[in-house]
């Protein structure tokens, strides 16, 4: 039985068919007239061979509409992702939504509300909590704590991913920085899993060589890829939602052609969601309504193309604290993405744009994910659930339903029971320490860490993952990407992590 939340009603559609057609035509015209800059000679040649017009000097590739439409049709509507635990395998696409635990560079200190680089133990613990939470379907190990104490920046993706593979048996997301995907693929193959890699893209209308190389390497390893479009309205994209949709659709089409002419049928998803730029500070606003509207509309368009969707709305709030703003911005955004047919939702634990990640927030957000998942499932309308006979049988007061067999059968199927949201009676709340959701979540994190044991890697798998890591460490050191001083800090930090692991075990 596949995990995930399956929507039982038609998705929210904010665009009329005519409006969708205007956006589609606009994007085709942009790709044919202006095209994209693609900084990868072999990719340009491949696109020229497929029928694009290529200007060698400006690295500009212009795409004919027939080729775009042909390639859009070739993109698979679904793809499978293998997890370490087969019960956690995913089938992305259709009407099913999966939640991924969120991203955030630094650890949030709940005493001061300030952030700082995370230790290896904190990263490991975050992965264990993510592994235990019922509504985290993909573990996004690499994008939490990208600021790890003592870890050289070039090694962060790989060290984080290795922790993800060790301490979670769920599907892993990966990235690409300075060719690190080569080692990420080695690790995944050693553990017998697929990665779901997010590929770097530069809006507007630009793909750099690093992104193409990573896309090719992951596709060669038969893994799906997910280009991340980075349109900020008014900066890297038009200030209007409609214009940002045209741009994002054009970029989607560009990626469809690039991938489908490289490997027809290669599975891709598109990570999108245009936020408005705050014109006073120059910072993206992720919690505003614009990103929700843009996400819902783009989801509708991607569904028309049958391209699986990673939607952005709700992935983070702009609040620096775990507070009302964080709660409403994340929840409303994620709900809009879910209702409009998003397939993958970056969600639990990240906030303050991309700055912080908190295991406590992850536990709280997991309640929201369960809530949204329950909403997507709607209500079953059958003869039995309609309960006409039961209503007739119980009749008016003093009749009631508490003792009825129908209630015993259905009461715990119709609502979602949250783990840490406060639903205590007031009188009980007064006597149990007046706990709010955050204090309950803090207790829950401690409880999970004391009791949850992730599925262990076999010795061979462990060896394969460690071998790939060691190879990467040597490679980047010999390339000069890690200085001698950094190397010594790095080795010390790994020793501390190992000591902590042994002490905890």
């Amino acid at each position: 039985m596949l995990i995930g939340f399956t929507r039982s009603f038609p998705p929210l559609e904010m665009l009329s068919p005519e409006e969708m057609e205007s956006i589609h035509r606009g994007a085709l015209y942009v790709l044919e007239k202006t095209g994209m800059e693609i900084g990868h000679p072999a990719a340009r040649q491949q696109l020229a061979d497929a029928g694009c017009s290529v200007d060698v000097e400006t690295e500009r590739v212009r795409f004919p509409a027939w080729l775009v439409e042909d390639c859009l049709r070739k993109v698979p509507t679904h793809f499978r992702l293998r997890a370490r635990n087969p019960e956690q395998d995913l089938m992305v696409g259709g009407d099913t939504l999966y939640f991924m635990q969120g991203m955030g560079m630094q650890y949030l200190d709940l005493e001061t509300w300030e952030t700082r680089p995370a230790t290896g133990a904190e990263h490991r613990d975050a992965m264990i909590v993510a592994d235990a939470l019922p509504n985290v379907h993909l573990a996004e190990a690499w994008e939490i704590y990208t600021d790890r104490r003592g870890i050289p920046p070039v090694m962060v993706m790989l060290e984080n991913l290795a922790n993800g593979i060790r301490y979670s048996s769920k599907v892993q997301v990966a990235g690409n920085i300075q060719d690190t995907e080569i080692f990420a693929i080695m690790m995944a193959q050693a553990a017998g899993i697929d990665l779901f890699p997010e590929i770097e893209h530069a809006s507007p209308l630009t793909i750099h060589a690093g992104g193409v190389n990573a896309a090719y390497r992951y596709m060669d390893a038969a893994m799906p890829i997910c280009p991340a479009l980075g349109v900020a309205m008014g900066a890297a994209g038009p200030a209007t939602i409609a214009g940002s949709l045209v741009l994002q659709v054009a970029e989607t089409m560009g990626w469809a052609v690039l991938t489908q002419t490289y490997r027809p049928g290669a599975p891709i998803a598109i990570h999108h969601g245009a936020g408005a730029l705050d014109m006073r500070t120059g910072i993206d606003i992720w919690g505003g309504p614009a990103v929700s509207v843009s996400t819902a509309m783009m989801n509708q368009i991607l569904r028309r193309y049958g391209i699986p969707i990673w939607s952005n709305a709700g992935f983070a709030s702009d609040s620096k604290k775990i507070d009302f703003q964080a709660g409403f911005e994340k929840s409303t955004g994620a709900l809009m993405a879910a209702l409009s047919g998003g397939h993958l939702q970056l969600f639990q634990g990240g906030s303050s744009t991309e700055l912080l990640f908190s295991p406590e927030l992850m536990v709280m957000d997991d309640d929201v994910a369960g809530w949204i998942g329950r909403v997507l499932q709607g209500a079953q309308i059958t003869e039995e659930t309609l309960a006409v006979d039961v209503i007739n049988e119980v009749g008016p007061i003093p009749g009631h339903y508490l003792g009825h067999a129908h209630t015993r059968e259905f009461w715990n199927k119709e609502d979602y029971f949250m783990a840490v949201a406060d639903h205590e009676p007031y009188s009980a709340w007064l006597t149990t320490g007046k706990k709010d959701m955050l204090s309950r979540a803090t207790e829950k994190v401690a409880e999970i860490l004391a009791s949850h044991k992730p599925m262990p890697l076999s010795d061979a798998e462990q060896e394969g993952v460690n071998g790939a890591l060691n190879e990467a460490r040597d490679h980047y050191r010999s390339k000069g990407a890690i200085s001698d001083a950094d190397w010594s800090n790095y080795m010390n930090e790994l020793k501390l992590e190992e000591n902590d692991r042994l002490a905890t075990a």
Binding site: A202, H208, G234, T281
Partner: protein, 213 residues
């Protein structure tokens, strides 16, 4: 010399009309206005726009529009200054770029625009700028400040590589190095030997102003 032309030039900049600004700069020169006077007029005008942005009366689209219009007129004025053997005076010269491996443009562009609006001469090297490019530009332009941006933690290390290269080339002591971007902190800036750090573009301008005093 026509005061009227300079007034019209300022108006063109404030109406974001680069073509008109370039025409009026040329017209002012043709009328015999000193290049320095034209430069002063442009600087005063953009500073006014910058102040209005600082006060919250104008927003980034207006600020960037006005700075772009000013930039359209600048080559004409700079060429005239050069022809008469005068060098451009400014509050200071800044070389800025997003480091290698990082393709984020917006924060750095805003920083450059704000600096221009504050009267600085800015050389924007763009994105994904390698160590060699930074070094070559510093050699050629002799700036007062090198400003590097990195949005990704993973590329922040490149800032350190540039500082190390400036040191090896013997150029580190002659200039200030500042770093910025979402991925880094004061702590990181200190650890790589930068002279200053700002997480935001407006903060970066304040930093440059304070440094060059």
């Amino acid at each position: 010399m026509s005061e009227r032309t300079l007034t019209d030039l300022a108006k063109a900049v404030q109406e974001y009309d680069g073509d008109q600004a370039a025409l009026l700069a040329q017209q002012a020169l043709d009328e015999g206005t000193e290049p320095v006077a034209i430069l002063d007029a442009l600087t005063a005008c953009i500073r006014e726009v910058g102040d209005a942005f600082g006060a919250g009366d104008l927003f980034l689209p207006e600020l960037v529009g006005a700075a772009d219009a000013m930039e359209s007129a600048m080559p004409i004025v700079v060429a005239a200054l050069k022809a008469e053997g005068t060098t451009r005076t400014s509050a200071g010269k800044v070389v800025a770029g997003t480091v290698a491996g990082d393709i984020h443009n917006i924060g750095k562009s805003i920083f450059c625009t704000l600096l221009t609006a504050d009267g600085f001469e800015v050389i924007d090297l763009g994105i994904d700028v390698g160590v060699d490019k930074f070094i070559a530009t510093v050699k050629e332009e002799e700036p007062d400040v090198v400003a590097m941006s990195a949005l990704l933690t993973i590329t922040a290390q490149e800032q350190q590589n540039v500082i190390a290269a400036l040191e090896s080339a013997g150029m580190r002591d002659d200039l200030k190095v500042i770093v910025g971007g979402g991925a880094i902190s004061q702590r990181f800036a200190e650890s790589i030997g930068a002279d200053g750090y700002s997480p935001t573009a407006p903060g970066g301008v304040t930093l440059v102003r304070e440094m060059l005093g």
